[in-house]
Symmetry: C2
Subunit: 189 residues, 2 copies
């Protein structure tokens, strides 16, 4: 999957389809409007579960994805729960790593740059004084996220840096975490 | 789990331990320093997998969590991959929902407010023109996230709103997504 197979498959992606997608959205911008949805349910203590709901995009509804995937979150014993799953801030690191990798792989494919591997290690520093409300000056979230990325393939060091830079530049999650996203919260009665 | 059991368990959490944790970190702030880590590996196309690594906090290392959980991410066929898992921006919604729910439940427990249920539905609007580099003025991430939360329990409407507000105010992921977090990226040779 990770190798070029001769035709137009780069990084496991059909480059012709990728370019057709780019052209179609470039021509009809409304095709680029996507909606992603999940539903989450508390299961007691620090445990809760999300279910992916139907998404939409490119003028289509993807009803077949409704309920297809579930993800749990929990907290370890030091944070008073049963450690049945990664915790929310670990899930955030997963979302970030997954998104930067995917953006790097897709943008490399669009430029017909084949990659052998992409690996990353992420660490987030969190001062619990923020979450616990002990010090209003301490950020509630990570103070800092460190991400080390290794790309291999028949590439120069500069090309490897370029691939990672493309990943960060175009990754939706990287952009959301490093900038600010408006969130509207409604409490249902 | 979700019910009070008489003693000091509220919302499935040991309130005495929760208060001891708050006091201990209030007294020795360095106990609040936590580090969470994951490693991610590309698996071809839009598919990749994260593994939770050992975390640390409260002056301890949690080596037993090293490798305990894996999470995959993939993209649906419309986005050119095999749809083997939720995609990165759906994982972000999961992290956000999980974190707001957990923060609401923990902060309610600390105030000895028992909850029966917490459910939320989240939707993110994403314009693919950003990710594809078609329009530099279009955000790469969600333009907007909508979150509807329903809390049930023997609570007034005002108390329900207060519980959700505590969840948002103290949730690390809510704070990270609605504000900005510095991310340092290093490309390994």
């Amino acid at each position: 999957m990770k190798e070029q197979t001769g035709k137009r498959i780069v990084n496991g992606l059909d480059v012709r389809k990728l370019k057709e997608t780019i052209q179609a959205i470039g021509k009809t911008s409304s095709l680029g409007d996507f909606r992603f949805r999940i539903a989450n349910e508390w299961q007691g203590g620090g445990l809760n579960q999300s279910t992916v709901k139907a998404s939409s995009g490119a003028g289509q509804q993807f009803q077949e994805r409704d309920g297809k995937f579930t993800m749990q979150a929990d907290e370890p014993p030091i944070l008073l729960s049963g450690d049945k799953a990664a915790n929310p801030v670990e899930h955030l690191l997963h979302a970030l790593a997954a998104c930067v990798t995917t953006a790097a792989v897709y943008h490399a494919a669009a430029r017909e740059i084949p990659l052998d591997s992409v690996e990353s290690v992420l660490e987030g520093e969190l001062d619990l004084q923020g979450f616990l409300g002990l010090d209003p000056n301490v950020p509630k979230g990570y103070k800092h996220i460190r991400m080390n990325v290794r790309v291999t393939g028949d590439l120069s060091e500069e090309q490897k840096r370029k691939v990672v830079q493309l990943g960060c530049e175009f990754s939706p999650v990287y952009n959301m975490v490093s900038k600010a996203v408006p969130i509207t919260v409604e409490v249902l009665g």
